[in-house]
Symmetry: C2
Subunit: 439 residues, 2 copies
């Protein structure tokens, strides 16, 4: 068997690891639901052409793809947007707007595995469709911060950098950059934080020989926070579309401040996101201090759905993987020690003649939603207690002569050692209440 292992870049989730994964996905689901999103899902594989339409033939080598016996080509989903576009497209008329959907399925990439980038991972996708107003952007960004709050990540540990792709485009256009030069400029701005000061200046010099354009790029590169936002307003110089984008961005920041999470948020002109399909506000969450890493990102994509063959519908959304969240929580020691612990009762027959009572009591407890287990072996009290500890049970329940005579069981807290007698009827009526009252 040693010859077989999980494929490189995929993971085995033993119960301990699965408990962490479930803890994270439960957090995502909880945050999604309380922010008014409903869950959806699609197939694990889609027609290969669905991805070709969005990303061209180059994408194929990055996908796990296969044919069925009928020769149809399929690929394991590398991202959710094409599926989302397809599903919303099929029912665009009937769905009340805004559409607030989330999912957290496994995704697949055929690339070489590296730190933090696996071939299979779980991705939380959160999207708001059908609302053009920047309030949707704010509501969407709030979800990331609400996740941070839920995970115990403070504004000192993480921040959400916010920018507007449309605003950057306006500034560059006003400064005289032709449209076909915007993408290379985005790429340089996006790399700013990874480049030493000189390298950034050199990259700018390569983009344009024009001194004033170079100055604009330097100003953009350093625009951050409220002062940065103000300096960008000056670069716009009264240009109408530019001002509108500026106002949208300022309003998004105001809305987040009104929601009480302004501390997490910062305007940062250096965030433009690599993906070409973003049309408005873009954002990226970063780990500060010792973390120093991107956590997740997203933005507004008003042409994307139509671009992948879906309906013409505006949208804003983000995706975040389970690997980075687990890494961040591990580094900050924020994964609770209680993960994976159960509140199971281990039901013990003090005398093997009472085993049938163990079975019936266990069955009744389970029927009332209480986790209850028992030893498969009729063995001494001490050995059964030891098994209860090994299995991580919270409490032992003793079925003994008292149980037979007076319908009372002994309950022992395996953490504190505290013991009490509880009538079976009380235990079955409201087990946790009965245990608490006896404590």
């Amino acid at each position: 068997m040693a010859k077989f292992q999980a494929p490189k870049g995929t993971r085995d989730f033993y119960p301990d690891q699965m408990a962490v994964r479930t803890w994270i996905t439960d957090c995502w689901r909880r945050v999604s639901v309380r922010n008014g999103f409903v869950e959806y899902d699609g197939p694990t594989f889609e027609q290969l052409d669905l991805y070709r339409v969005k990303s061209g033939d180059e994408i194929v080598s990055q996908l796990f793809h296969f044919v069925d016996r009928g020769g149809r080509e399929f690929a394991l989903r590398p991202e959710m947007t094409p599926t989302l576009a397809r599903m919303v497209g099929a029912r665009a008329q009937g769905l009340p707007k805004p559409i607030k959907w989330f999912c957290m399925p496994p995704m697949f990439r055929a690339e070489r595995p590296q730190r933090g980038r696996l071939r299979e991972f779980i991705q939380w996708n959160v999207d708001i469709l059908g609302e053009n107003d920047v309030i949707a952007d704010a509501d969407c960004m709030f979800v990331i911060i609400d996740m941070f709050r839920e995970l115990g990540l403070s504004p000192g540990q993480v921040e959400l950098k916010i920018n507007s792709r449309a605003l950057v485009a306006s500034v560059l256009t006003i400064a005289g950059f032709p449209e076909d030069q915007l993408d290379p400029v985005y790429a340089v701005l996006d790399k700013r934080d990874k480049l030493p000061g000189d390298a950034f200046a050199e990259a700018i010099a390569e983009l344009t020989p024009d001194k004033r354009q170079q100055e604009t790029l330097v100003a953009l590169g350093s625009a951050r926070g409220p002062q940065g936002l103000e300096s960008v307003r000056k670069l716009i110089n009264g240009n109408e579309p530019g001002l509108a984008h500026h106002q949208d961005l300022a309003r998004a920041l105001d809305l987040l401040a009104a929601m009480g999470v302004g501390e997490y948020c910062v305007f940062d002109m250096g965030v433009v996101r690599g993906l070409a399909y973003y049309t408005g506000i873009v954002f990226e969450a970063f780990g500060k201090g010792s973390l120093q890493r991107a956590i997740c990102g997203g933005g507004r994509y008003d042409k994307l759905l139509a671009g992948v063959g879906g309906p013409p519908m505006s949208g804003v959304g983000f995706g975040v993987g389970d690997v980075v969240i687990q890494d961040v929580l591990t580094e900050l020691s924020l994964l609770p020690a209680s993960i994976g612990q159960t509140d199971a009762l281990f039901v013990i027959d003090v005398d093997p003649k009472l085993f049938e009572r163990v079975l019936s009591l266990t069955s009744e407890l389970r029927g009332r939603g209480v986790a209850a287990v028992y030893s498969y072996k009729r063995q001494s009290l001490v050995k059964q207690l030891k098994q209860a500890s090994t299995r991580g049970a919270a409490r032992a329940v003793f079925v003994d002569r008292e149980t037979a005579d007076r319908d009372v069981v002994g309950v022992k807290d395996l953490g504190t050692g505290a013991q009490a007698s509880i009538p079976v009827r009380a235990l079955l009526e409201d087990p946790y209440q009965a245990i608490e009252e006896s404590a």
Copy 2:
């Protein structure tokens, strides 16, 4: 976009459908945990050879398989057992026995889709490893019945047919059937309920010309319930291994009766299960009456893990798909109407000037775990209320002059229409409590 649909045999889960799926998997998880199982998971795809080892080259055509850029062959998992064997094998020594694991991942089959058999489906897998005693079989079968109890399926609607492959083999060996003829006999017995009386007799006549052997098969074919179990004991005629298998089976039924679920269980010699790897007790759950269909099945497989390259370890387990459970619950109208309903609060600004208060209140409610949403448009009270209904919110919360002046909000139950005033502080301290008390 109409050209793209979900691949044939796979499903789009729109929010309504996803809510049903989640309701079913939540039930599975709840039942698993209260029966003392812990969750695990493996990769969505495995090395193709892992399946070849178990099932030979024939299996390949039933799998979705592909190669990566390095030429390695992989397949989407069609079942969990090879992954389970691989994972347990890698840590066999370190895991305390019995190993009680469950999972509920998507599975894939490259076959032609038909009613109830899809190319992608969710399967709940429940396994107990490392315990030879029949008590593990009983504990495993109990999980199926506990699911039935949880889903509201009564003994009048479903039953668990229980048999022992080892016992059948003993009876056949005693009757003089050579070992290489057992599989064809199993096949005929397994089909008994699908064959009219004459066809069953004809199939028996084809198996053997020997009148006494034919009588044995007829007796086996009709052995059902306590009387059937007694008649089989006579066929064993004192043979020692046969008696041991008979005792095991009788004990499993006794244990289930002691757990209070005997009503669901029936001995049925006609259940032998198609899969060759079962070595002991086998079982199948059936829908009775108008349902008349197999729901799920499993059994003991003491040689399987070693057979797929895992450790020599006994096991008993079952699998059940989401499709059949949903079909059964739909047919019996057992899916609660409340599935997918939310208890969300829709926070409304009676005056658009108060919108910032809507935002801060929504944010605070979400931070306390309460689902809270608001309209993206500043519009009339009536329009906002209408949107709240469309989105299925449970209650509207009015932010009005009272809120500004005295920090009190109006709360309206959108179902009953009942209205009350609640101090914001009380609402935030314990929202559901505050709402209930105000009712």
